[in-house]
Symmetry: C2
Subunit: 474 residues, 2 copies
Amino acid sequence: MSFLKKISPLLKNTFLSEKDVLSICAAQIEAEIQQGKRKNYNEVLDLSSGDLHRGGTKPISFVRQVLAACFYPELLEDDSLPLDVKQRAECLLRQCDGGSVGSYTDSCGIAKIKQCVTKFITRRDGGVPSSPDNIFITTGSQMALMFMVQLLVQSEGSGVLIPVPTYATFTQALEDQGAAIIPYHLCEEQGWTLQVEELRRALHAGRRTCNPVALYICNPGNPTGHMQSRKSIEEVIRFAAEERLFLLADEVYQSCVYGEDTEFESYKKVLSEMGSTISGTVELASFNSASKGFMGECGLRGGYMELVNLDPAVKEYTRTFFSTRSCPPVGGQIALDLMTDPPKPGDPSFPTFSEEIQSIKNMISKNARRIQEVFSEIQGISCQPLKAGFFVFPRLHLPPRAIKLAKKKQMEPDMLYCLHLLEESGLHVRSGCEYGQKKDSHHFRLFVATHEDTMEDVLQRLKTFHKRFMMEFS
Amino acid sequence: MSFLKKISPLLKNTFLSEKDVLSICAAQIEAEIQQGKRKNYNEVLDLSSGDLHRGGTKPISFVRQVLAACFYPELLEDDSLPLDVKQRAECLLRQCDGGSVGSYTDSCGIAKIKQCVTKFITRRDGGVPSSPDNIFITTGSQMALMFMVQLLVQSEGSGVLIPVPTYATFTQALEDQGAAIIPYHLCEEQGWTLQVEELRRALHAGRRTCNPVALYICNPGNPTGHMQSRKSIEEVIRFAAEERLFLLADEVYQSCVYGEDTEFESYKKVLSEMGSTISGTVELASFNSASKGFMGECGLRGGYMELVNLDPAVKEYTRTFFSTRSCPPVGGQIALDLMTDPPKPGDPSFPTFSEEIQSIKNMISKNARRIQEVFSEIQGISCQPLKAGFFVFPRLHLPPRAIKLAKKKQMEPDMLYCLHLLEESGLHVRSGCEYGQKKDSHHFRLFVATHEDTMEDVLQRLKTFHKRFMMEFS
């Protein structure tokens, strides 16, 4: 029975991605080390994913204590847990049917947690109101994003503007939803800023082949580490208003901001302050997650989306759509509750909580500074100012002979670089070609949120490797 | 900006479902009771969902202890937790990057847990081999099912055969994936059996309007409580082979079997024993979940799918597809590990574990017997033998005057019945019209897995109400 034929249009994408190739190589090297094979290093350092705990950061105690008490309420009798942990767990369990996190919740999330989220948003946005009706809690923010895209691209040939660079699996997932991809380039030379002229160029180019319906923005950016200024956000919103584009604002890195004089402003906040013609009309979905903040709880799968200015009938449809799906995991929902309503001064858990958060913030800021210091000294690497998020995306200025060799091996030059880096120095990073980049420009992506000592080791290995690599091919 | 126009084809389905109407009414009544309004009852009894914990069943201690220790590894030092709980938690944490359940896992699930699942399947199927390569762990089994449907209905006008009755949100979700629905009727008179002649009729009818590609079976059945015999499964498989249909076997109620002389046999097992022409060709995806077994962990969202006989390229595509999505929640994955590899005789947790499971089994069996006893005595209700699953779907033989009134009120007769039942007796059940049923037949769906005393209360309320309702309208 040839089921294969039926799905052949999709199969064109069945191949190992660059990410897979590097992961497979990393696993092979690790296996070799375990088998006693000698290398220049004792272990592979994995800077390939955006995962705080994988990078060695310990989970936030308050978060894990509340989760443990929710899953095993016998712990509510345990004297070793702080009072506010127990109170929070009791409060959350009261929201669960049968007092159990094992029960289904409403498909859009537990009402009390949605309320928590709205209060968090209102606080964040300096008082701009937020309503639980507009909040949809989902199995990670990506699920909500994919749903919105599915909704927006109902008619054939609908296009979504997405930045270059952006992560390849995301582009693939959009295509799986039936979206035509319209790439717009971020301006590396100006710190990976988003320029409206480029959006306009991309839109007009896109209109020749599809019907652009939405504009996706990732702010703060992955993989660029850039954060938009207020002025830039205003320009984008005005552009969306003029061109009648739906705005998809991926703001999952909003709490991870460390650039000097840099403060996160949400699309929703900026939109609300742009005068009623615009603020009351531009349709916006913004996304946030428990995975990418300082709590880094990727494995719990908790995200949410807030809808702004949507037609009530569309919002109702969205609700109906979600009601045909099972609820998001309760553990992820709890993580969102704790993220949006953390311990306050005076609460028993507050001192430990704020100490843990501060230590993660310090680690990331320190790493960001060190990365820029070191990269500024390395010939053949240039790096834009790092302002926010979990990644840096430095540019590689590779010698022609390296590029020639890569061509011969039928791979992208930065992939060649990353493979050599992995093999020779045990550093597992991601190759720029996975993200899309301007022709003849080469990059790699490095996770910045790992322990300071590990980062120092990473930078030293990278420096040594890079020098040798450049020598070999110059 | 009229985003609405763009999605108008979908909006036809934006209305309150029967489920919503009953839920809203139930909430209103509960609010009235809280405000002191007098009713014939003190509380609404909710038998509307298939949720063990919501129905009052306590979570399995072993499951929750392991989860708590995984979320908060400080508990590994706690003397009050059994040794096997700690060992299991330690083992699971070793499978997690950074030793944290907060890290992403492989998109198809943790390798060790997939192995556990295959061992469970092989044991269940009397030795039929199962490979981790064919196992996809997902955010609940529905997510896997929706993915398979999306894959199968790539070309416009692809149809999926689904049973009547079946739950409405499922039908809706299939339509959202672009599937044309081809209903086949289960034979109520013969105990809700699945008859191949009816499948054939439905298929031929379906071929007039679409291209049938897959056959969905729910065994044991929701809402019918029926379980297929081996002979019936063989017939269905032969039919699928002849008609070149992909089999989607929803087997989430497989562990909940209580009919006399009734034992669950999986589609995969039966298929494997049908001779190589059939056993090597019929494509099958089967689904299971941590929500519907005796552990009832719906809120954790852990399910899996096993693929049989799929073209390697399609399987590879499936893997690629999943790799563009984030992983299933780690809590749900852990639940699957514990479900498929429970404590064994001799393990410290075994006595409590088996006692808890046995008590749930006893409760459900006892309720099933009582329901059938009581229903057999009530005039105007007929009920097929209950064999498995969480639900009973009795038929209502309503007086013409009740049917007339329902018509006048523009609702289905069983909806009228359920609304009256809710208002007068405080019983919240689901109306048969939600599930689809043969013309002029009426039903309701009742959750069987609630505490024995509650069930006795339910049955007494129902008996009294039904008598009064029949009198009023006769």
